[in-house]
């Protein structure tokens, strides 16, 4: 045990490890807040679709050797989020089909583009690290850490200010609209923030595993808690703890960061299911 603490203390002396822990925790916090709404609105798959779009955008950014690829990936993903929300009920291609199309499409194009234009010798290694997370969480610059902190504060403030309206729109969109709440604006707002979080979270867990960060905390919390505020708070706690635990374990056992965090989430979900059954929810 003391060995483990020693090892952790040793790693903590490196600034890049500290940065990784800070950024990882903040991303986990943001994604869990939105996760509750996304899961309840049956939008979980939007997160999944958007993460694939982000992968495609990243591939394109790599070819053009953009110095700061976030500046390219972010607008593309946000644009995709807006498009996905626009596909309402009265369009020719239904929402879920549109998302499936967009996500597989961009995944394929991303891989294709990487294969054709890549100058790197290890293509499959590159692809694998973008999809499942890589060491990029350990190569964060100070600037990226600041960006993440600012983003988190913005998301937190917006979420608290609009909490009551987000609740109303999530629970009953039509009633909210009938009482004069601009539900479409809030849907758009939710989609845009989701897109932003996904792009940030790509560094942490890779684009295939992002949805886990969004969905798992909310689902775990919903097993046990029966009021909305409680679910939001509990899922934020679960998410932050799992992310921290996952990152620690991955440092100690040198396992891949993203997959470890998701594994922790799965364990916590199972635990919450059992607790839920025991207390009869």
């Amino acid at each position: 045990m003391s060995d483990m603490i020693m090892t952790l203390q040793f790693y903590m002396t490196y600034p890049f490890v500290r940065y990784a822990l800070i950024v990882g925790t903040l991303i986990a916090l943001c994604s869990s807040l939105l996760g509750v709404t996304l899961v309840l609105k049956r939008f979980s798959f939007i997160g999944d679709g958007l993460s694939h779009v982000a992968f495609g955008a990243m591939a394109v950014a790599t070819i053009f050797k953009l110095t700061n690829d976030t500046l390219f990936i972010m607008p593309v993903t946000i644009f995709a989020a807006v498009i996905l929300l626009r596909t309402g009920q009265h369009t020719k291609i239904k929402g879920d089909a549109a998302i499936a199309m967009l996500s597989v499409g961009s995944l394929a194009i991303g891989y294709l583009v990487l294969n054709i234009f890549s100058t790197s010798a290890n293509i499959s290694g590159d692809v694998c690290s973008t999809l499942f997370g890589s060491t990029s969480i350990l190569t964060l610059t100070k600037g990226e850490v600041y960006l993440c902190v600012v983003m988190t504060i913005v998301v937190l403030i917006l979420f608290i200010l609009f909490y009551n309206r987000i609740f109303a729109v999530t629970f009953d969109e039509n009633f909210a609209k009938a009482t004069g709440i601009k539900a479409n604006v809030y849907n758009l707002f939710i989609a845009v923030i989701t897109a932003m979080i996904i792009v940030l979270a790509m560094n942490l867990v890779g684009s295939l595993l992002i949805s886990a960060l969004i969905i798992f905390p909310a689902l775990s919390a919903m097993r046990v808690i029966t009021n909305f505020k409680g679910v939001v708070i509990y899922s934020a706690i679960i998410s932050v703890c799992s992310a921290l635990a996952g990152m620690m374990i991955s440092i100690l056992c040198s396992t891949p960061v993203g997959a470890t965090i998701v594994a922790v989430h799965i364990v916590i979900f199972a635990l919450n299911c059992v607790i839920g059954k025991v207390i009869g929810r």
Binding site: L40, Y163, F171, A176, N227, K229
Partner: protein, 238 residues
């Protein structure tokens, strides 16, 4: 002046007409029951009255001090709501949101109003309960309390007794009747015309081309009612 006056309304989505030639008006204290076959345009009419979608043609005028957003709406249950983790208190309170204006949080006044409406619906003992664990009848009372938080003038109910057992349905109708007697205007969309007809003051029978609007008495003497009767008898024979 009536709360809502509709003249030659044409309903539909994106150029597709669902129902045409609908004219009616709702005054303070009326109890309007909207009937019609499936697909006749009842849900479209609701969305139009709530101003969620614009009418294709014709006019819809609100008056007598009714603001467009002062209609309390009791929608049909959605899949989302069935397993939603929220307490009765959170849901009813969300009905007062329109009264908050630009303020981000609920004030004392809103909370008091929500408390009153919960008491009025007789569900104070459920205040802290989770919505998804309630019975169908209790859930409808919660949604009604929320609608009453949004308005004290006009309530629009969309198939409110669907899925309720007869006893719960009867007590729900009783609640609606009492609200109407207090002076709250009711618009109810229902399949269950037999139970509603005794309470309603006016009937709107929607049909693709020829809709009927009038008092209950004139409706009972009309052709639309007779055709409806035949339909109901057919249903019961099957």
């Amino acid at each position: 002046m009536a709360y809502i006056t509709c003249k030659n309304l044409e309903l539909g989505y994106e150029g597709m007409t669902v129902a045409d030639n609908i004219s009616f008006e709702i005054k303070k204290g009326d109890y309007l029951c909207v009937v019609g076959e499936n697909g006749a345009g009842k849900s479209t009419l609701i969305k139009t009255v709530l101003q969620l979608i614009p009418p294709l043609s014709g006019s819809l005028i609100t008056g007598d001090g009714l603001q467009p957003y002062e209609i309390g709406y009791l929608p049909q249950q959605t899949v989302i709501q069935r397993d939603f983790p929220a307490t009765v208190w959170e849901i009813v309170l969300s009905g007062t949101l329109a009264k908050c204006g630009k303020r981000p949080f609920y004030g004392k006044k809103e909370k008091q109003l929500a408390d009153e409406m919960i008491a009025k619906m007789g569900i104070t003992y459920l205040k802290k309960s989770c919505y998804r664990n309630l019975s169908g009848g209790q859930q409808q009372r919660v949604l009604l309390a929320r609608a009453l938080c949004a308005t004290s003038k006009l309530i629009l109910l969309d198939e409110p007794v669907t899925g309720l057992d007869p006893k719960a349905a009867a007590s729900f109708y009783q609640v609606i009747r009492e609200l109407n007697e207090e002076g709250i205007t009711i618009i109810m969309v229902s399949h269950d015309i037999q139970s509603v007809i005794s309470d309603a003051s006016h009937i709107l029978h929607i049909d693709k081309t020829k809709s009927f609007y009038g008092t209950k008495e004139s409706y009972l003497a009309s052709k639309a009612w007779k055709s409806f009767q035949v339909m109901i008898e057919d249903d019961t024979n099957v």
